[in-house]
């Protein structure tokens, strides 16, 4: 089969590789129809994610048709059309039973690696380094799906791939980010980053009843999408306005009730702190540059919630702990426990509350994955979200 493989910093190539096989009895093999490039794939692309091997198959947002099931899978049949959640979860451990599927205690065969960096291991993920399991990803013609009796969700034929594909990651990820904000009527939510997760965070905050949602980015077409498609009530271009002052103005001095960081470890900014963080990251003095997170903390109202959906991998400097402690802020985060959101969000899509396909700007064949990565990274041609058609 053909698969998109990581071959070093800023180098991905579609290669011919062996077809996947059933390895565990609860596996299924899925013929991938649609797969997407995630913002977190760009962290790998740019070389910020440790424990990658040249030749690793990328991709953790994918869906397709079941072509084979292991003898331990009774809920799926060959021919079923499914969306696959990006965390791999067994459904049997205490974490899974508590609904914390991205913390599955059994799905990372390389847990010891993650323990070295983070203390304990989260679940395994598709196509996201050997520290998170060494599982081949879904930017391929076929994918092996472990614990297929727990993860994949069947989707009805009347919905297109583009409408349901993002149930695999970014829609639930953003929804959980908004859910962690404890939104109440009248709440104002500020969202850093108007990439695909930011767009869905804005839409989700509105679905959850926010009064006002403010999008913060620097890319005009993304802010335009936030306003016209996702439903942001206000947009701030941080290269044009002072975000803190603008938020004070928009909230009459209260500050946003909750702030969502939908940016993560490769934040951009301007000014001296950005230069310092870039330099430190280049010299490996810090692994992540938390510019958006710092600003979100500074801007959040007293007693508010800072919800972190963006991916961080390691260590950050100049973390404003003083603001957190003295202003009673709550920080919440987590890789999304996708499994628990798939059904309710599929229902939302079926009811027409949201059509997630609005973020898609580019559709490419799998063979042009490299082009998609480059476009998405450099934000050329108005790129917001790239879907790769594998079949």
């Amino acid at each position: 089969m053909k698969a998109n493989c990581w071959n070093g910093k800023k180098k991905v190539t579609v290669e011919q590789v062996p077809d996947p096989q059933i390895l565990n009895s609860r596996d299924a093999i899925v013929r991938v129809t649609s797969t997407a490039i995630c913002g977190s794939d760009l962290h790998i692309y740019n070389g910020f994610i440790p424990a990658m091997e040249k030749g690793d198959i990328l991709g953790h947002e994918f869906m397709g048709e079941v072509v084979e099931v292991g003898k331990g899978v009774s809920n799926l049949r060959v021919g079923d059309r499914v969306v696959v959640p990006f965390p791999i979860a067994c459904g049997n451990c205490k974490a899974c039973q508590a609904g914390l599927t991205s913390l599955c205690e059994n799905s990372n065969p390389n847990a010891w690696l993650a323990e070295k960096l983070w203390g304990y291991s989260p679940s395994g993920l598709f196509g996201y380094s050997h520290m998170l399991g060494g599982f081949a990803g879904g930017q391929a013609e076929y994918a092996r799906v472990p614990f297929a009796d727990v993860g994949p969700i069947k989707v009805p034929d009347h919905l297109t791939d583009e409408q349901v594909l993002f149930l695999s990651d970014i829609f639930p990820t953003a929804y959980m980010g908004a859910e962690m904000c404890d939104i109440e009527p009248g709440h104002v939510i500020a969202v850093w980053g108007a990439g695909p997760v930011g767009q869905f965070a804005i839409a989700s905050a509105l679905l959850l009843g926010a009064e006002r949602v403010i999008a913060i980015d620097r890319v005009p077409y993304r802010l335009e999408m936030a306003r016209s498609k996702a439903g942001a009530t206000d947009v701030l271009n941080y290269e044009e306005v002072d975000v803190y002052e603008a938020l004070l103005e928009l909230t009459a001095g209260r500050g946003p009730d909750a702030c969502i960081d939908a940016v993560g470890l490769e934040a951009h900014s301007h000014g001296p702190m950005y230069a310092v963080d870039r330099a430190k990251q280049a010299m490996m003095l810090e692994t992540d540059r938390p510019l958006a997170l710092r600003q979100a903390i500074r801007c959040c109202k007293n007693g508010g919630v800072v919800s972190v959906s963006g991916v961080y991998g390691g260590f950050i400097d100049h973390f404003p702990m003083g603001a957190v402690v003295n202003r009673s802020l709550t920080i919440r985060s987590g890789q999304c426990h996708v499994h628990r959101y798939m059904k309710p969000l599929l229902t939302r899509i079926e009811q027409g509350d949201i059509d997630p396909s609005f973020v898609i700007t580019h559709r490419l064949p799998l063979s042009k994955a490299a082009e998609g990565f480059e476009m998405f990274l450099n934000k050329t041609d108005g790129c917001e979200k790239v879907v790769l058609q594998a079949a």
Partner: protein, 323 residues
């Protein structure tokens, strides 16, 4: 540490008693606190100490006491902060010797209160003896860990199953190779079991073992049968209900006593470069088997050594994973 974590085995030098190590640690703690107390007194109240031990209250003896006190403080902090205390305890022994020399010198001084100096010398001699014994033990402990037998590993994991389920699975010793990566097979006949392990370069190591403690749903202990292996070994596994209805805590303790030479090296290899990591991996696989039904594989984990995360066409590796 609980008494029942002691490895149960009567084969004299094959067994390592953690309790002893723990007592050694307590002794180091006591000596450390003693050093700190004495050091503070000597540094901050040298005149009072001089009077107590019968030294003349002169500038010279006060200075000497201050210096001795500083050394005492250093060894006290060292003892309390170092996990491997042997070096610091030997430092104390050297310091004690110095104290005795100084006191002997004081005994010969005309202005000294001789009975008090003699009592102080006797006290220091006693402490020195304690120090020396402690240092010798600490040295033995650390050399045991770094150089020779026995090697000892204690690891735990929590599994979402009842103690009865976990016990039953383990008690069927033939299940052990499903999660202990380096075991090839365990055959059970007539109360004894024959264990076969994979050695380096296709070699095999085989020995017999017998169960020496069998407490249903609570614990199992086994040891190798003398004469069947050059590497006496044994283990205890305990099954404890985890608090808050979280299944079972499995506490596994393994010890083995490799001799020098090739067989010992081969056996040591079974436990990997880092025995405790090897055992942690075994327990993680045990949890996978008990909770999910089998060892969980990824595209990379089915190969030995680093491999890209992509499917393989190697039938042998695929079939090996499916086994």
């Amino acid at each position: 540490m609980e008494q029942n974590t002691l490895l149960y085995d009567k084969q004299a030098n094959a067994i390592h008693r953690i309790g002893q190590k723990e007592r050694g640690r307590n002794r180091s703690l006591g000596l450390g606190l003693f050093s700190l107390g004495l050091g503070f007194a000597q540094v901050f109240a040298p005149a009072a100490v001089a009077k107590l031990i019968g030294l003349p209250n002169r500038r010279g003896s006060r200075l000497a006491l201050r210096l001795i006190g500083a050394r005492e403080l250093a060894s006290g902090f060292g003892l309390l902060s170092q996990p491997r205390a042997a070096g610091w305890v030997w430092g104390r022994v050297a310091g004690d010797a110095l104290d005795l020399v100084l006191l002997a010198d004081a005994l010969s001084s005309r202005r000294a209160v001789r009975p008090r100096v003699a009592a102080a010398a006797a006290a220091v001699a006693g402490v020195a003896a304690l120090d020396a014994a402690s240092a010798a033990r600490a040295s033995r402990d650390s050399s045991a860990r770094h150089w020779t037998a026995p090697i000892h590993v204690l690891k735990s994991i929590t599994v979402n199953r009842t103690p009865a389920e976990v016990y039953a699975f383990w008690r069927d010793l033939q299940n052990l190779p499903t999660f202990m990566r380096h075991l090839e097979s365990v055959r059970v006949d007539n109360g004894r079991s024959t264990w076969t392990a994979k050695g380096p370069a296709g070699t095999r190591v085989e020995w017999q073992a017998e169960i020496v403690r069998d407490s249903p749903n609570e614990a199992i202990a086994w040891k190798s049968v003398p004469g069947t292996t050059a590497v006496p070994n044994g283990g205890v596994v305990r099954f404890v209900p985890a608090p808050g209805d979280r299944g079972t805590e499995i506490h596994l303790e393994l010890a083995y006593s490799p001799p020098g030479g090739a067989i010992g090296a081969a056996f040591a290899k079974l436990f990997g470069e880092e025995p405790s990591q090897q055992v942690a991996g075994d327990l993680r696989r045990l949890k996978q088997v008990l909770e999910t039904g089998e060892v969980v594989h990824s595209d990379a984990s089915i190969h030995p050594g680093p491999h890209p995360a992509r499917p393989t066409a190697d039938r042998a590796i695929i079939m090996g994973a499916r086994k």
